[in-house]
């Protein structure tokens, strides 16, 4: 009970801070939009259809939603490092709330913000020409939540070991951009050179992006949105299972690591 209240309070503060920070709100949305419209518009004409009825912008759209969520939820780590630099983390660490609850609150705070931004991008579906249904939106919300909690915890985990803002930002860029670029946000994952194909399949973000795309654009085993892992075509549920296992492991690891820092 006490820890639930702790999680809620930590979460609430991060939401409050986000609400005050209009620039961050705008920034997090402008970047994906740039990708979507500049890349989408620029390349759609040249590349034609990825699959019958799906042009490049439409192909990229679910990926951009995933990317928005992924990048935004990583802010959980930034928020921890930031609190540490500003001294506020001490106030949290001496409070009678378990450290695991603090880590969870931080993760959920960033996940909520990420979800909110993902929904804003998702609202552009009619503009891009991707049909959506109520059931699809519900499924996407759950997928985005799963992805954001996993990546948020990854951010918190890194923040327990990397103390300075500068170092954290460098590590974040080094990790986040490859994760995004090698997850199938921008290109179909079939017919890639061998080495690239291996990296893509080891990348956990791949299993966050793929099910979003499968839910929005179709999930037949022979569509270009399906990835083959060790010869097995991954269904939507297969991808979700991989992401969930990764997510749970990272959440537990982040809570453990947060509890064992001085």
């Amino acid at each position: 009970m006490r820890n639930l209240r702790g999680i809620y309070t930590i979460w609430y503060r991060d939401i409050l801070r986000f609400w005050h920070d209009k620039m961050r709100m705008a920034g997090a949305i402008v970047f994906p939009l740039l990708f979507l419209f500049v890349f989408g518009a620029g390349l759609s004409a040249r590349m034609g259809f990825i699959e019958p009825g799906v042009d490049f912008a439409q192909f990229m759209f679910p990926g951009i939603i995933g990317m928005t969520v992924l990048m935004s939820s990583f802010m959980a780590g930034v928020s921890v490092v930031w609190d540490r630099e500003l001294g506020f983390l001490k106030e949290v660490l001496v409070a009678p709330v378990s450290r695991a609850a603090v880590a969870m609150g931080k993760t959920l705070g960033a996940a909520t913000v990420a979800l909110f931004q993902g929904i804003i991008i998702l609202a552009l579906a009619p503009v891009i020409g991707v049909p959506v249904s109520v059931w699809m939106v519900a499924a996407l919300l759950l997928l985005m939540f799963l992805l954001s909690v996993s990546m948020g915890s990854l951010g918190v985990l890194l923040a327990t070991r990397i103390r300075s803002m500068e170092a954290f930002q460098v590590v974040m860029q080094m990790l986040m951009f490859p994760m995004v670029f090698l997850s199938g946000v921008f290109f179909p994952l079939q017919g890639l050179p061998g080495w690239l194909s291996v990296i893509v399949k080891v990348n956990p973000a791949t299993y966050g992006i793929a099910p979003i795309r499968q839910v929005m654009l179709g999930s037949s085993p022979d569509s270009p949105f399906t990835i083959n892992v060790l010869g097995h075509p991954m269904s939507t549920w297969d991808n979700i299972a991989v992401l969930a296992v990764f997510g749970i492991a990272i959440v537990l690891l982040a809570m453990w690591s947060f509890s064992h820092q001085e």
Binding site: G6, T9, R13, L86, G87, K90, E91, V97, M165
Partner: protein, 327 residues
């Protein structure tokens, strides 16, 4: 036997090979204002960090309000309030929001939350500023807000780590009014660290700590009694000859203190005219004073508390510089 609110037994903390606090033991009674006096880096903050569960001791143990600081962290945390050396407020939130956050993590029942917040903000005279973002506050206002926050959950012990560092004299005395008033009203035990001697004087008892060792623990009066004598400082034409004369004629062993000659005598009021009349060296100036905690520290460690500080200020500047470079 008295029931102590803080018990520390053989506490030892090492950072690698460096011993930060070396086997210290002491007790603090309920309602006491207990001062930890020593130069920067003596182990004051490390001790506080252990007592408030932010760090684990290498060996030894400590209880606070009857709870073990290693095994019963949650109960210890609920029992203490903290005002840190460095600010720990969320500057992007208002003063009110900072206190609400605190009230929620410390489980203050919703029914009394708002009245309690109002009570504390009124006490530190920040009620009118409650809705402004903390980053618009002055240094003194921030410190007052932190004190209000530290008291919000009615802690049994309030830790104040250098509570008035870097504040102007008016703000310092204001903050002291709150602290002492608090002990009167609520019987809160106050544990403070400081390297300002005049602040240490306000404590009921003082522990003097140096290089991680507890070298004395007593009331300010008792500590000064260790020096006992009055202190005379003089500037003369020839300090060496004057020193020689003091040694031969009165059996006093003076020390060179900058460009002054300092020595201790009993009955300074009577000795001073004799000294001035009889000394064969021309005297430029002479001062007589009662012993201060500075003298106590000097006597106990052979150094002035400020001597070390010069080095620390330099270190702090380097650190601050480094921090700016990183931004």
């Amino acid at each position: 036997m008295q029931d102590y609110v803080i018990r520390v037994e053989n506490l030892l903390k090492k950072f690698g090979e460096v011993v930060a606090i070396n086997d210290i033991s002491f007790n603090v009674a309920p309602g006491e204002v207990f001062g930890f006096l020593g130069p920067n880096g003596a182990g004051k903050t490390t001790t506080i960090n252990i007592l408030c569960t932010l760090a684990k001791p290498t060996s030894g143990h400590a209880t606070l309000n009857g709870f073990d600081v290693v095994r019963q962290q949650s109960q210890v945390r609920q029992s203490i309030g903290l005002v840190f050396q460095d600010p720990s407020l969320d500057e992007r939130l208002s003063g009110l929001q900072n206190l609400r956050f605190h009230a929620m993590v410390y489980n203050i029942p919703a029914a009394v939350r708002e009245t309690r917040i109002k009570e504390m903000l009124t006490m530190v005279e920040l009620w009118d500023k409650r809705n402004s973002q903390v980053r618009t506050y002055s240094g003194g206002m921030k410190r007052r807000l932190e004190i209000a926050r530290g008291l919000l959950h009615y802690p049994v012990v309030l830790f104040l780590d250098e509570p008035t560092l870097g504040l102007d004299p008016q703000t310092r005395s204001r903050i002291w009014e709150y602290i002492l008033g608090l002990r009167e009203q609520r019987g809160t035990t106050i544990f403070l660290t400081t390297h300002y001697m005049d602040e240490a004087e306000k404590a009921d008892r003082i522990a003097v700590i140096d290089y991680g060792n507890l070298i004395a623990i007593d009331t300010p009066q008792g500590l000064k009694g260790m020096v006992g004598k009055d202190v005379i400082s003089a500037r003369t034409d020839d300090d060496d000859r004057a020193a020689e004369e003091l040694r031969l004629r009165y059996g006093i062993e003076p020390r060179h203190d900058g460009d002054e000659l300092t020595f201790e005598v009993t009955g300074g009021d009577e000795f001073l005219p004799v000294f001035i009349r009889e000394l064969g060296v021309k005297i430029h100036s002479v001062r007589l004073r009662r012993p201060t905690l500075d003298d106590v520290f000097l006597k106990l460690t052979g150094r002035e508390i400020r001597e070390k500080e010069a080095g620390d200020i330099f270190k702090a500047m380097v650190r601050e510089h480094g921090r700016r470079m990183r931004r």
